[in-house]
């Protein structure tokens, strides 16, 4: 049976932990709001660019040919997974879900491809694979601290070049897709070759292009890549804050339950102590008679 003082000390320590989790929850909520805003703001550009690209690529496809080397699928031998995790923990299953998904991908596709490379964005993913002795081709650092379209562009352009050089045949992004503040879903999304949907029968009038369609595609496709990477990073950031908020919320609740339980224990122990004292006094007085 723990002494009164032990219980009091435990209550104190749980309380201070609760203060921390509560504060972290508030911070995550504030960051989540900003991250969500960033997603909303980035959406029009991504949607409009995709529409323009799909139309022009489908037009090219309906006339034969892929129209652009980054759109051309080829037999896939070397695949690379770009794994996006957070730099910080305490976000529930946010990072471990990603790790598990990648491991499943590796098992399921071990026979299908000659080689599966892994690159990481975010410290937690890097640590996950290092701990399991999975080799990492490249670890991109310092992406999350100040997320910008420029950083996404750097990564996207690198993959574009490596795809063109024949170094790899397909690239997938693995990241937490933002569904809502309380729900994230691990997504595996193909980055390269760029998919533009099935060739539609191109009715209606064609656009006038300036410069010619081919040159335009050459500028549009890399931009589209940038946007895909940027979107995945934004989604991951918002998901991270959402996951942390939920995790910290339940931690705070658990702390409340624990304090209630400990208080009950404390009061019971106190009462037992008083009863014991009283009966000692009474019996002491009794014996003096």
């Amino acid at each position: 049976m723990p002494s009164l003082r032990d219980i009091r000390r435990r209550i104190g320590s749980v309380k201070s932990t609760q203060q921390i989790t509560k504060a972290m929850k508030m911070v995550a909520a504030a960051k989540l709001r900003r991250a969500q805003e960033a997603i909303t703001k980035a959406r029009p550009y991504a949607t409009l660019l995709e529409q323009a690209l799909v139309r022009i690529a489908q037009r090219a496809a309906s006339e034969g040919g892929a129209g652009h080397p980054l759109l051309a699928a080829r037999p896939v031998k070397v695949v690379e997974l770009v794994v996006i995790t957070s730099d910080r923990g305490l976000a529930g299953g946010f990072n471990s879900n990603i790790g598990r998904r990648v491991q499943r991908f590796l098992v399921e596709n071990a026979d299908r491809y000659e080689k599966i490379l892994i690159s990481t964005i975010g410290k937690k993913g890097r640590d996950f694979f290092r701990a399991r002795h999975v080799s990492i081709r490249k670890d991109y650092t310092g992406i999350h601290q100040k997320l910008s379209a420029d950083k996404a562009q750097e990564i996207a352009r690198e993959y574009g070049e490596r795809f063109l050089s024949g170094e790899l045949d397909a690239v997938f992004l693995v990241f937490n897709e933002f569904k809502s503040a309380i729900s994230q879903k691990v997504a595996v999304k193909q980055l390269l070759p760029v998919e533009t949907g099935p060739a539609e029968d191109s009715a209606g009038i064609d656009f006038l292009y300036e410069p010619a369609r081919k040159e335009l595609l050459e500028q549009l496709v890399p931009r589209h890549l940038d946007v895909q990477v940027f979107r995945a990073l934004l989604d991951s950031a918002a998901s991270e804050h959402g996951a942390r908020m939920t995790a910290m919320e339940s931690a705070t609740k658990n702390a409340t339950d624990m304090i209630a339980m400990l208080s009950l224990q404390y009061n019971r122990a106190r009462q037992a102590y008083i009863t014991k004292e009283l009966s000692e006094i009474v019996s002491g007085a009794e014996s003096l008679k």
């Binding site: 980035a42 029009p44 550009y45 409009l48 009038i205 006038l208 292009y209 300036e210 410069p211």
Partner: protein, 131 residues
Amino acid sequence: MALTLEIVTPEKRVARLECDEVRAPGSLGGFGIRKGHTPFLSALEPGRLTAVAGGQETHYAIGGGFLQVADDKVIVLADTAEARDEIDVERARRAFQDASDRLRSLTEQDGNYALEAARVKRATARITVAG
């Protein structure tokens, strides 16, 4: 008003407005758009994009991108876009100075030539719009 103009960048929507005419720096030369323009997709150079509404001109400094016209809707997919009051002129002037200094020491064959030339153009666009 005859046209709707929407300017978006990867990071946000910069403007959505109604106007009569749009003038833009196309990669093959400047062009203008009015009501009833044929469907058109053009690459843009860094430069000044102007929206004319009731004789009133609004200027934006854009850092390259694309412009699409269809059904009297003009969509500008800009790498960067700033309205006049958002431009940091001091910074643009410094960028112009630095980039043109570097450009002078490069030849056209140099890998960084196009990059620096684009920087000069972007800075010039900002200074013109702000000026």
